[in-house]
Amino acid sequence: MTADNLGGWPDPQPRMGFFTDTSVCIGCKACEVACKEWNAVPDDGFELLGHSYDNTGGLSANSWRHVAFIEQPVPTDVLAEAEAGPGDMRWLMMSNVCKHCTHAGCLDVCPTGSLFRTEFGTVVVQEDICNGCGYCIPACPYGVIDQRKDDGRAWKCTLCYDRVGDGLTPACAQACPTRSIQFGEVGELRERAAARVEALHGQGVGEARLYGHDPDDGVGGNGAFFLLLDEPEVYGLPPDPIVPTRDLPAMWRRAGLAGLAMAAAVVVSFLGGRP
C-alpha cells in the first residue's frame, strides 16, 4: 500500500499503476487494440513504417499504448561467439504507456488546471477544460502526451480512470494474454518487479533491469514502470529523465536577475546624460 497522497485528496485511494514486464511480451498488440476500443481513441493513420512489426511508431494523442519491436543480435559473451559463430537474432517487444510520474511535467505546467492528479495518484486530462495550449507536450520528458490535430486538445492514457474508479482493471492489462502488463497498487507492483528481476538474473538473464521504479529518480518514480532487457533508449525511452519543473526556482531567479538588469538599463539610459 502506497500512502503517498499525491493529489491531496480528502479520501485518497492506494496509488495504482502498471508494471510492464517486457520479458514476457509477445508483441500481440492486444493492449493497443483494447485501449482504443475502451477509450474510443481514433485511428492514428495506416502507415507502414518498416520498423519491424511496429506500424504505430510511438505513443501519441491517438495511441495510448504502443508496442515497440526491436530486432537485434542476442547478447553473448565474446569468447562464446568466437567459438560458436554469430549468435541468433532476438526480438525485444515492449508495450509503452504514459508513466503517470510522481512529479509530472505535464501536470505542473498545465495553465488551465485541465490536467489533474486523481485519487489513485494517476495523471488525467479533463477534456472539457483543455484549451489546447500545448504546453504539456514539450514538458513531458518521455514525449507521451500529444495534441490531437483535428481536435486541438491534448490526449494521453488515463490509466482507465473510469474503469479503475469502478474497481475494474484497465483495458490494456485486462487484454494482455501473458501478464506482461500487470495492474495494481504501485507499492505492491514494485515488490513484484524486484522479485521478477531477481528471478531473471538467477536464470542467467543478466541484462534484465527495472526502469522507472525508483522514487529517487528525476521524476520521483513512475506509476507505470517497466522491466527492460536493454538500455532504455533502445526502446525509445530517455535514459535519465528529469521533470523540467525541478529547475523552475533557478529559472525564475535567472529571469529575476535579467529583469533587474533590464530595469537598471532603463534607469541608466534615461538618467545617463543629455539629450
Binding site: 511508431g57 554469430p86 507536450i137 514538458a139 533557478a250
Partner: protein
Amino acid sequence: MKERAMVPEADFRSYYGRPVVRPPVWRHDIAAYLFTGGLAAGSALLAAGGDATGRPALRRAGRTTALGALIASTYFLINDLGRPSRFHHMLRVAKPTSPMSTGTWILSAFGGAAGAAAVAEAAPLLPGPLRRPVTVLGTAGQYGAAALAPALATYTAVLLADTATPSWHAAYPDLPLIFAGSALASGAGVGLIAAPPAQTGPARRMAVLGAALELYGAHRVETSKGILSEPYTTGRAGRLLRAGRTLTALGVAGALLGRRSRVVSALSGASLLAAALATRFGIFDGGVASAKDPRYTIVPQRERLAGSSG
C-alpha cells in the same frame, strides 16, 4: 572463418532514430509573440522613461506601441490554441508551477495598465471634465505597465526553458538575458523611429545596453551548452541568429553614429526591431530542432549518468 558486418560504434542508440521527447506543437505564432511581448515591454519602459524625463515623443510612441504590441500578442496567443474559443480557461487558475499561467496573469495585468496609458493619449480629444481623470489614470497605467515590463519580457524565457526540449532547457540561465536585451533593443527601436533626434538620447543608450545583453546571452547559448548549442548554430535557427546579430550590430552602429539624422536613426530602429524578430525566431527554431533529433535528448542524459556513476 566467419564474415561479420562491422558497424562503427554508434555514439548513441535510439528507437529507429525517432525523437524521444515530443517537439512543441506551437506554431510560429508563439515565436511572433515572443517578439511582440518583448516589444510591448520595451515600449512601456520607453514611455515611462520618456514621460518622467519630459520627452513627450517617447511617451506617445511608447504608449501606443505597447498597446499595439499587446493586441498583437493576444491575437498570436489565442490563435495558437488548439481550442481558441476556450482561451479564457487560462483564467480559471493561478498556478505558480506553470510559467504559462504566471505569464497569463502578468500579461493580463500589463494589458490593463498599458491600455489605460494608451487611451490617455487621446485625452485632449475628450470633453473638458474627463481629461484630467483620464490623464491621471493613464499616468498610473504607464508606470504600472513599466513596473510589470521586466516580468513580461523575461517570463517567456522561463516558459520555453521549463520544458524537456533539450536546447531550451539547457539554456535556462541565459535565455532571460537574451529576451531582456531583445525587449530593450525593441523599445529603443521604437524610440529611434518615432521621436525627433533631440529626444532620442535615452533610446540610443537603451539600444546599446539592450544589444549588449542580447549578444552576450546569445553568445552563451551558442557556445556553452556542449552539443545542445549545436541546434542554435546550424540550420534555420543558426541563420536566423546570425542575421539577428548582424542586424543588431547595424542598428547599434546607426544609433550611435546617426545622432543627427532622422533617417539614419529610423533605419537603425528598424534594424533593431528586425534583429529582435530574427533572434526570437532563431531561439524558437533552435529548441524545436533539438527536440526532433533523439541525439540531443539521449547523449546529454547518458553523459549525466556516466558522470554520476563514475
